[in-house]
């Protein structure tokens, strides 16, 4: 690779995670990325002061307090999965099938008129020491309930997909605010300098509603936005285009580029941003080396691939993404979000308006084995201790029917689960009412969930701020409480 001979990169090509201080030491020796124009008047965390964090906000930073989680894998069930059909059976609902839902105030449906209560078409059993209920749709996951903390009393502010997706991702129902992954990478930087810190993988049927608005960096610098990562073809845009197939050409080009830039820099000794740009080319070349290694699943055993369901056409796509996620975690990628469900019709995502049974059977078959495989794999490699896994949608589904066999959106009470780093295993927190309509005890807001995620990453959600338009913004705005009972 070109350029390093002028300024040997402190990381070699292996992309070892590196602390900021040791990086500074190396860089201070005479050539570095440091001290570019002060483009940010902000700092992520306490440790990140000084010039270098402003010009290269993606450098690794220390958390506020020791972190349990180094990485996050967020399995986003786009469209809104149903709690009463997967993890939270309600005897009252079964009993009152066909009756009107009464005494809950005006029923807020998104489409049409409210139908009667509809029992779950699925059978439930209790599993593990914790005795958690799991429906027959998730045979693989049921073996992991003792690793999971269920939060059954989630609430969000809207029953409309796009704003709800935005809220789950950024805390706000409006566009223009940074997503959780952006805040996290802004706060902690990237532990691998050859890979993006925030990676998004979406469904083979298309992205979620709102597309890239869901992983935007809002008013944070664009470096913190999620990078879409594909499982087939070049994973990152422009990564392996024409010239990458011709490394010789790239090397020859880089020689001339270096000569031009060297002359230009001599005339502008104070403009360290120019040096930074040269280094960014070096890093781009290194990314071209590292990313193909990351996505190359050749070295994975047949057993591992089976674990993720890659030997089955139905589970292959999601399984591949989840295996990729594990490989990204191993390489220090901070935040990975994977969407199950894309496109905009009844069968392509969890938005089961018309036929809940068919919809959830179909999507559970696609995801159950891969999700269980991921948990198994993380655990056996000792990665679950430092990786936070989150499962959930932008909202849940109503206990009443819609169009006789479907369920409408429900923002008043829904379920997410968390597992791994710092999460208390085998617990359940919060309840919805007797039919699963509204959160009834220990309500958890999206702000609370976000505060908890940040907490597990060693970040105090009240102290991670960014000054914008005259005020300091937080992921959790002016709210949010860490959900202590689900912490180990």
């Amino acid at each position: 690779m070109p350029l390093p001979d002028r300024c040997p990169g402190p990381w070699g090509f292996s992309g070892h995670p590196i602390g900021r201080r040791s990086f500074l030491k190396t860089a201070g020796a005479g050539c570095g990325l440091l001290g570019l124009a002060a483009l940010l008047q902000n700092e992520g965390l306490a440790d990140a002061s000084g010039d270098e964090s402003k010009s290269r906000p993606d450098l690794a930073k220390a958390p506020h307090f020791p972190a349990k989680a180094k990485s996050v894998i967020w399995l986003f069930m786009s469209g809104g999965p149903s709690a009463v059909d997967l993890f939270d059976p309600k005897p009252e609902l079964q009993k009152n099938h066909g009756k009107r839902l009464e005494g809950k105030g005006e029923i807020d449906v998104f489409f049409g008129k409210p139908g009667p209560l509809m029992r779950s078409p699925f059978k439930f059993k209790q599993y593990g020491k914790s005795g958690a209920w799991v429906s027959e749709l998730l045979p693989h996951l049921s073996r992991h309930v003792d690793d999971i903390a269920f939060v059954k009393s989630m609430q969000c502010e809207t029953n409309n997909h796009s704003p709800a997706l935005l809220q789950m991702n950024s805390g706000m129902i409006r566009i223009g605010f940074p997503s959780v992954g952006s805040w996290v990478t802004y706060g902690l930087g990237s532990a691998n300098r050859n890979l993006p810190g925030f990676i998004v993988m979406y469904d083979h049927r298309g992205g979620p509603i709102g597309g890239s608005q869901n992983w935007g960096s809002g008013f944070l610098p664009s470096t913190f936005q999620g990078m879409p990562f594909r499982t087939s073809g070049p994973p990152i845009l422009n990564l392996a285009a024409a010239s990458a197939s011709n490394p010789r050409k790239q090397r020859i080009q880089a020689e001339l580029l270096r000569a031009l830039n060297a002359e230009h820099i001599v005339q502008h000794p104070d403009e360290r941003e120019l040096e930074g740009r040269i280094q960014s080319y070096e890093m781009a070349y290194r990314m071209q080396m590292e990313v193909p290694q990351t996505i190359d699943l050749e070295g994975e055993s047949a057993q591992t691939k089976e674990l993720y369901g890659m030997d089955n056409n139905r589970t292959k796509y999601f399984g591949t993404q989840l295996l990729m996620a594990r490989r990204l975690v191993e390489r220090g990628v901070r935040f990975i979000q994977i969407y199950s469900g894309g496109g905009h019709d009844e069968v392509s995502n969890w938005d089961a308006h018309v036929n809940l049974k068919e919809n959830h059977e179909h999507l559970c078959r696609e995801t159950d084995q891969p999700v269980a495989g991921l948990l198994t794999d993380l655990k056996q490699r000792g990665l679950l201790d430092s990786t936070l896994v989150i499962w959930g949608g932008e909202f849940g589904r109503m206990p009443i029917s819609q169009a006789s066999l479907g369920r409408d959106h429900n923002p008043h009470g829904f379920l997410v689960w968390l597992a791994g780093a710092g999460v208390k295993p085998g617990v359940s927190y919060g309840e919805t009412d007797e039919v699963g309509y509204k959160a009834a005890t220990n309500m958890v807001t999206v702000n609370d969930l976000h505060a908890t995620i940040l907490h597990l990453l060693g970040i105090d959600h009240k102290r991670l701020t960014f000054a914008h338009n005259g005020r300091k913004f937080r992921l959790t705005d002016v709210a949010g409480n860490v959900v202590q009972p689900i912490l180990a």
Partner: protein, 809 residues
């Protein structure tokens, strides 16, 4: 005495950090003697138990220990590390006491000593009587309207210094005086070549051609530079370049965002209005008025109507409007107007009184009331006969649409299914054909009607009677309090709120309230005009110099930057008003200053004024995303300089288009002259950002953007080294060089001149020829007939990637 000991000890026992906030030495302690009166007198007004600004309560030991929203304020024993000390000694912003006189030095010393001694806190303090009757509402004070940016404009006296043979106008004389104070001298003037490249990019956003540089260098007339300035300001390219800056502030887009991201095929009229207004040198006060209320000045003139796109350009969630969403839309208008035109973060006062600036929450709702009757909509601008043709075509479309809908409904019932996808599976071949025919009829009718559409996106009131607006507790529509009268920001009225009279003659179907806001906005006597002028001249400076005189261009409030050379802002703003609010004379003044013409090459001044706050040198400016793309198109000879019209869509990789739930950008676009328009004409789709612009920090149109962030990222290198756009344009540039020049060396020289505006050194020529030779497989004869081979395109691509290409001296 006994009591306070007991109390303090109780607190002491609960304190984990026991050194902090323990009792001192009794009534004669430093705390009780000096610190307590100081805290009570200067701090507790805002930082007591009931008020707790910034989450900080200094009235008890526990409160002191807990600190504020941002953590502890006192680290016992370490005054320098304690935010309390940093704030009162003005090392930290916001400086304390907030908006009040700085404490006496001895008082500050005392705080330091107290912290050094461990910050013992002997007894809880009582808050002094508040002056304001209402606890919840901020009362504006003298300190508020005496703040620099709320003052009337005052044209400064410009000093004439002895031995100043540098200054060319008032700008320079003010700066020269500052430089002299710091012991600095201005930098040498830039070379003519560099100056030409700088000013072309700066004013037009495009590079000068080699011939244009040569002409300027060869022009020996005394006023050669002045002529160049005038010629560029008169060029249509000027409006295209500077419109982009304003469109950022106006969060302009061609779609609504959110789930469906509906396209606004008629929004571009606003973008064209901005370009035309700038090119015509429409006075800035007019420019402001029409954007807020063009329809209320003349409801027929399409130019004025198009201007209201400013209010209508925000993101909109249309799928399921709620009252909350409606207030969000109004907030977007208010926040955008406040930021763009006033440099004030008005939006911060939505849920509570502004935390820093003198904007009570009530003012927010008074101003909101002026916009609340308006909504975005479409307005006809077609000729009458077109309109009739449209109406009959549209009628047919509506009929066809209904017929289709009815047919589907019937079929759903007949086949006992619930959805169209389910129905698809059930219909017979015959029925399917019927279905297709109905769809076809509908599509054809739609296309027929669209031919006649000449509509534009506008913002208009729904009726003449103002919609009632309420004070919303915590910004929550469910917590409506009393009705508020439409009005303005009271700080400009010395705190005595003035109601917005409904402007007469505004029209019969409109409230006239926006027009009264518009008049107030640019009224330098009785409105916000002085601030509006300051904010705008600062923006001009910002884009000419890379940074504003006030470094927070959309925050002229208490949290914002204070100008190092306040007289300069006053001079420019007064001049703007004196010139009848025309912008071009201001550009001219700035461009003709010696300050602007300084060299950007190495200087020795970094040490004295590292931030360059007195502008004694030029710093290279990185081109913005749009200018980088435009420069590549221009240099390669591809640029199509057609102006105006519907947004154009460049070809995007499928990977980018597929990130949404439905494709929101055509997949089959071919790059060509149609797409090689200037970037300001690119269709701005909120959910599909053009990677070439996005990666170079282009605006994402979600909110008013005053300043682009400037990142240096590997993704940018990948875009310019591997992206389709860079490849194609490198090839086209190579073909142009090969066409125009016969010798290899001539081509290399020309390549440098086109791309970098200079001739290459002998080493650079050698290195370039070496690259071409290596990639083309062996030495080419010096004058070989040119093939657009890999080598030449690779050479051109290197030029596009050079730092010098995007950093302009």
């Amino acid at each position: 005495m006994q009591l306070w000991r007991v109390l303090a000890t109780t607190i002491f026992c609960l304190t984990p950090l026991s050194i902090l906030a323990g009792p001192g030495d009794g009534p004669d302690s430093l705390f009780s003697r000096s610190v307590a009166p100081l805290l009570a007198g200067k701090c507790l007004e805002c930082h007591d138990a009931s008020c707790q600004k910034g989450g900080l309560d200094l009235s008890t030991a526990a409160g002191l220990r807990k600190g504020g929203d941002e953590g502890p304020v006192v680290i016992p024993g370490e005054p320098n590390a304690s935010r309390l000390y940093q704030a009162v000694s003005h090392q930290l912003k916001p400086a304390m006491p907030f908006k009040r006189m700085k404490l006496e030095e001895v008082e500050i010393e005392m705080i330091a000593r107290w912290i050094k001694e461990g910050a013992p806190y002997d007894f809880p303090l009582k808050t002094p009587e508040r002056q304001s009757a209402s606890k919840s509402e901020t009362r504006l004070t003298d300190a508020d309207w005496q703040f620099w940016s709320f003052q009337p404009l005052r044209r400064p006296d410009v000093p004439v210094l002895r031995e100043d043979d540098w200054s060319r106008n008032g700008i320079d004389r003010l700066l020269f005086a500052k430089m002299r104070k710091l012991g600095l001298k201005p930098s040498a003037a830039a070379s003519r070549e560099k100056l030409a490249r700088r000013i072309y990019y700066d004013v037009t956003g495009l590079p000068p051609s080699p011939a244009e540089i040569a002409d300027f260098v060869a022009d020996t007339r005394l006023d050669a530079y002045e002529r160049l300035v005038d010629r560029l300001l008169a060029s249509s390219r000027y409006g295209e370049r500077w419109a982009r800056h304003w469109l950022d502030l106006a969060r302009y887009a061609d779609s609504a965002g959110y789930e469906r991201d509906w396209e606004r095929a008629n929004a571009y009229h606003y973008r064209d209005f901005v370009i035309k207004a700038l090119n015509q040198d429409l006075p800035y006060d007019q420019f402001v008025r029409w954007q807020l209320a063009g329809d209320e000045y003349d409801s027929k003139d399409p130019f004025l109507l198009a201007a209201t796109g400013f209010c209508a350009s925000g993101p909109r969630e249309i799928l399921k409007p709620t009252e909350q969403i409606r207030y969000n839309e109004l907030d977007d208008i208010l926040a955008t107007t406040g930021s763009a035109m006033l440099g004030l973060t008005v939006g911060c006062a939505r849920c509570h009184d502004h935390k820093y600036d003198p904007i009570p929450q009530r003012d927010y709702y008074r101003l909101l009331a002026c916009f609340a009757t308006g909504t975005p909509g479409e307005q006809w601008v077609s000729a009458p006969d077109e309109r009739t043709a449209y109406e009959s075509a549209d009628l047919e479309f509506q009929r066809a649409r209904l017929a289709l809908k009815r047919w589907i409904n019937d079929q759903l019932g007949l086949h006992g299914v619930n959805s169209e996808p389910a129905l698809k599976k059930k219909v017979s071949r015959e029925e399917s054909a019927q279905w297709d025919a109905l769809v076809k009829r509908k599509d054809q009718a739609l296309n027929a009607s669209l031919k006649y559409v000449r509509k534009m996106l506008v913002f208009q009131d729904a009726q003449a009677r103002p919609v009632e607006t309420f004070f919303l507790e915590r910004g929550d529509p469910a917590l409506k309090r009393e009705r508020v009268e439409p009005g303005f920001l009271s700080v400009f009225d010395r705190g005595a709120p003035r109601s917005a009279g409904q402007c007469a003659n505004s029209g019969t179907r409109t409230t006239g309230l926006r027009r009264s806001v518009a008049e107030w906005m640019v009224d330098t006597e009785a409105g916000a005009g002085s601030l509006a002028a300051r904010v705008m001249v600062n923006r001009l400076w910002q884009h000419h110099f890379g940074e504003g005189l006030v470094k927070t261009p959309s925050d002229f409030g208490f949290q914002g930057d204070r100008p190092e050379v306040p007289e300069l802002i006053e001079l420019l703003a007064s001049e703007l008003v004196r010139q009848g609010w025309r912008l071009k004379p201001l550009h001219r003044l700035i461009l003709l200053s010696a300050a602007y013409q300084q060299s950007a090459e190495k200087s020795d001044k970094h040490g004295i004024d590292p931030e360059n706050r007195v502008w004694s040198r030029r710093r290279p400016q990185r081109l913005e995303a749009e200018a980088i793309r435009d420069a590549i198109l221009s240099v390669s000879g591809s640029l199509n300089d057609a102006m105006f019209g519907p947004g154009v869509r460049p070809a995007l990789p499928a990977a980018v288009i597929n990130t949404g739930s439905t494709p929101k950008w055509p997949l089959d676009i071919k790059e060509g002259p149609e797409t090689w328009r200037r970037s300001v004409y690119i269709f701005v789709k909120r959910s599909v950002l053009v990677p070439m612009l996005d990666i170079f920090d282009g605006s994402n149109a979600t909110g008013s953007c005053a300043e682009r962030t400037r990142t240096v990222l590997p993704g940018q290198a990948l875009e310019l080294m591997n992206g389709d756009f860079a490849h194609l344009q490198s090839e086209r540039f190579a073909a142009k060089l090969c066409r125009e020049f016969a010798s290899n060396e001539g081509r290399v020289r020309a390549g440098f001149k086109y791309a970098l505006g200079r001739i290459p050194s002998a080493t650079e020529i050698k290195a370039s020829l070496n690259l071409i030779e290596q990639l083309n497989g062996g030495a080419e004869s010096p004058d070989a007939p040119c093939q657009v081979s890999d080598g030449w395109a690779a050479f051109c691509q290197v030029l596009f990637n050079a730092n010098e290409f995007i950093y302009i001296d």
